[in-house]
């Protein structure tokens, strides 16, 4: 703000308001995060007495308790299995589809593309109950498998829109040269399209990683409370008990849940921001 004050032409009131707003909001973002990180090293008494003080000791026992109590290691393993399997399935479905849509000129291709584009309008959540019936009728109720099948379907519209727009940008001549050499469609996809689409694939993977890892209601309803199958997002809230929640343990569990996403964000910050932005814009 000191800097803005030096600029004579700026409407100071305006810039101070939006600047103050911005930093207040940032403080509101940081303080809860700080609070929950320090709380995960304290017991209830310390949390209630001095919520913002640094913990006296960096005691990891809350983490141990949280991990034991909610079987978080198992839950993380389940989340990893579900997320990775769903990501692979998403690519297996979306890549050939985008390839076909990018190359088709006919009315049918346009129609199929519109079907997927309309998917943005389907609030799949409203249909949670029929989805649950579907799981039951396939005999896949209370299993990770159904969620692995379902999540790619929720991700297909956006994935296909992003990948199709990438593949459209690939010059036809490249493909024609390959076809001339007798390559089949599948070979063209693998050897010509895939290498060029790597940034698009990365975007799709990052976006869907976030949405699959963070999915809550579908796993809650479809996988249920079975500790052998449930994902981390379903396991975490079980640390909250109506009478006498141990907040230190709850916050430790929350921190544990966030670590994988946070690690990915720190390593791939740029790519992830770009992915999230392009995801919304393309959508």
């Amino acid at each position: 703000m000191a800097r803005t004050a030096l600029r004579p032409r700026r409407d100071r009131v305006g810039s101070i308001t939006s600047g103050a707003l911005a930093w207040i909001y940032c403080a509101l973002l940081v303080v809860p995060l700080y609070y929950f990180v320090v709380s995960s090293f304290k017991d209830n008494e310390q949390i209630f007495e001095s919520p913002l003080a640094l913990p006296g000791t960096w005691d990891l026992s809350n983490f141990g308790t949280a991990i034991d109590q909610a079987e978080l290691v198992l839950a993380v393993a389940n989340s990893v299995i579900t997320t990775v399997a769903a990501l692979v399935l998403t690519l297996l479905l979306a890549l050939p589809a985008s390839f076909a849509l990018a190359r088709s000129n006919g009315r049918l291709g346009r129609f199929v593309e519109n079907v997927f584009a309309l998917g943005f309008l389907i609030p799949s959540f409203a249909a949670l109950f029929p989805t649950f019936l579907l799981a039951a009728s396939l005999g896949l109720f209370h299993s990770r498998t159904f969620v692995v099948f379902l999540l790619p379907a929720t991700a297909l519209p956006l994935s296909i829109v992003i990948l199709t727009s990438f593949m459209r940008a690939i010059p036809r001549e490249l493909e024609e040269a390959a076809s001339m050499d007798g390559a089949s469609a599948l070979q063209v996809l693998r050897q010509v399209y895939l290498p060029i689409c790597v940034p698009g694939i990365a975007t799709v993977l990052l976006l869907n990683f976030l949405s699959f890892w963070n999915a809550y209601l579908y796993p809650l309803i479809l996988i249920g409370p079975d500790t052998a199958q449930r994902t981390i997002q379903v396991a975490l809230p079980t640390l909250k008990v109506d009478a006498g929640t141990d907040y230190g343990v709850l916050m430790a569990g929350t921190l544990f849940t966030l670590l994988p996403v946070y690690l990915v964000y720190t390593v791939l910050q740029r790519q992830m921001q770009r992915a999230l932005i392009s995801g919304a814009v393309k959508g």
């Binding site: 800097r3 032409r9 409407d11 009131v13 305006g14 810039s15 308001t17 939006s18 911005a22 909001y25 809860p32 929950f36 709380s39 050939p96 076909a100 088709s104 000129n105 199929v112 079907v115 584009a117 998917g119 943005f120 309008l121 389907i122 609030p123 959540f125 409203a126 249909a127 949670l128 109950f129 029929p130 579907l134 790619p152 379907a153 297909l156 296909i160 829109v161 459209r168 976030l210 949405s211 963070n214 999915a215 579908y218 997002q233 929640t245 907040y247 709850l250 569990g253 929350t254 849940t257 966030l258 996403v261 921001q273 999230l276 932005i277 995801g279 919304a280 814009v281 393309k282 959508g283």
Partner: protein
């Protein structure tokens, strides 16, 4: 779902807007091609597996939702029968439904404009590249990464009677309350949680659009003596208006449909019906009370409200140029 949702449906957006905003040029009309690949050109066969998958797992359940809305189905083990419009009659005569509709309306009428206006001001500030704007962009993204359960757990700890908020108020001699258990603050608390996580992400999206505004125009306006406020609302807003419309729709859908998660995790719709939103009502009627026809009838109403709301947002924030 929000991050799951959120991002799953964060990602929800609009076709028509998307096509108008699409950056990729339409493919040029095909040159006359040999008869070698005609079928492949006309029929996108490789899209078939994805299409079938999509039809089974997404379109199927939505169609089923419509059908179940017209069935009398009072419990999972009961044989459903045709009910005509009676579910809708029951829904519309139910006080709970109107309470939920009122809560959803407050949530959207109050929460959405606040979110979008604050996000726009934040984006405007960040785009000016003030000191620390990089840190700010980094921070603004954080809520978008955190899942609904993790966000809810953090706020559960903050808003409980012995939590951070009351702890901060105490030294000022202010008595806090059990924010989530007090009927007069519970809905506000839910909206606050949604604002907390939604403003930053919206701001980042809007900033991405504002970054594209040519600095020369802004420079020229400044030389003419325009202040920040006028530059923000007089220049940036009209330029980014259609895009802000897209972000608004995104957040609208997320509030309307995904609030069920936050409500389920924090208040279960209570105390009384003070935080029961329409989407939570759909969940509750289906999975707690197993009044399936009722639930899906509300689901259908919600679906239609979603479409109407998006139409309205589009009308209000249509590109002005």
């Amino acid at each position: 779902m929000r991050a799951g949702l959120r991002k799953g449906s964060t990602v929800t957006a609009l076709t028509d807007v998307a096509s108008s905003a699409a950056t990729t040029p339409e493919p040029s009309p095909p040159p006359a091609r040999g008869a070698r690949t005609p079928l492949r050109e006309r029929f996108p066969g490789f899209a078939l597996p994805a299409l079938v998958w999509y039809a089974v797992f997404m379109i199927g359940p939505v169609v089923a939702m419509v059908v179940i809305g017209f069935l009398s189905w009072p419990g999972m083990l009961v044989e459903p029968g045709f009910a005509g419009l009676s579910n809708f009659g029951r829904v519309l005569a139910d006080e709970k439904f109107w309470a939920a509709a009122g809560n959803s309306a407050v949530q959207i009428v109050v929460g959405l404009p606040v979110m979008i206006v604050l996000a726009f001001l934040l984006a405007f500030y960040v785009v000016q590249k003030p000191r620390g704007h990089r840190v700010m962009r980094y921070l603004l993204f954080i809520p978008a990464l955190i899942s609904a359960p993790a966000t809810a757990m953090v706020f559960y700890a903050i808003l409980n009677p012995d939590g951070l908020l009351n702890g901060v108020l105490r030294p000022f001699g202010l008595d806090g309350t059990a924010w989530l258990a007090n009927p007069s603050t519970a809905l506000g608390a839910i909206i606050a949680v949604e604002l907390w996580s939604g403003i930053g992400y919206s701001a980042v999206l809007i900033a991405a659009r504002l970054d594209g505004v040519a600095p020369e125009i802004v420079q020229a306006a400044r030389i003419d003596g325009a202040g920040d406020w006028r530059i923000a609302w007089g220049m940036y807003w009209p330029i980014a208006r259609d895009f802000i419309g897209v972000v608004t729709m995104l957040q609208f859908l997320s509030m309307l449909f995904n609030s069920a998660q936050t409500v389920l995790l924090l208040t279960q719709g209570g105390p009384g019906t003070s935080t029961t939103t329409l989407s939570y009502l759909v969940y509750r009627k289906a999975f707690v009370e197993t009044d399936l026809g009722y639930s899906q009838a509300v689901g259908l109403i919600l679906f239609v409200l979603g479409l109407l709301g998006m139409g309205a947002i589009r009308r209000v924030l249509r590109a002005s140029h």
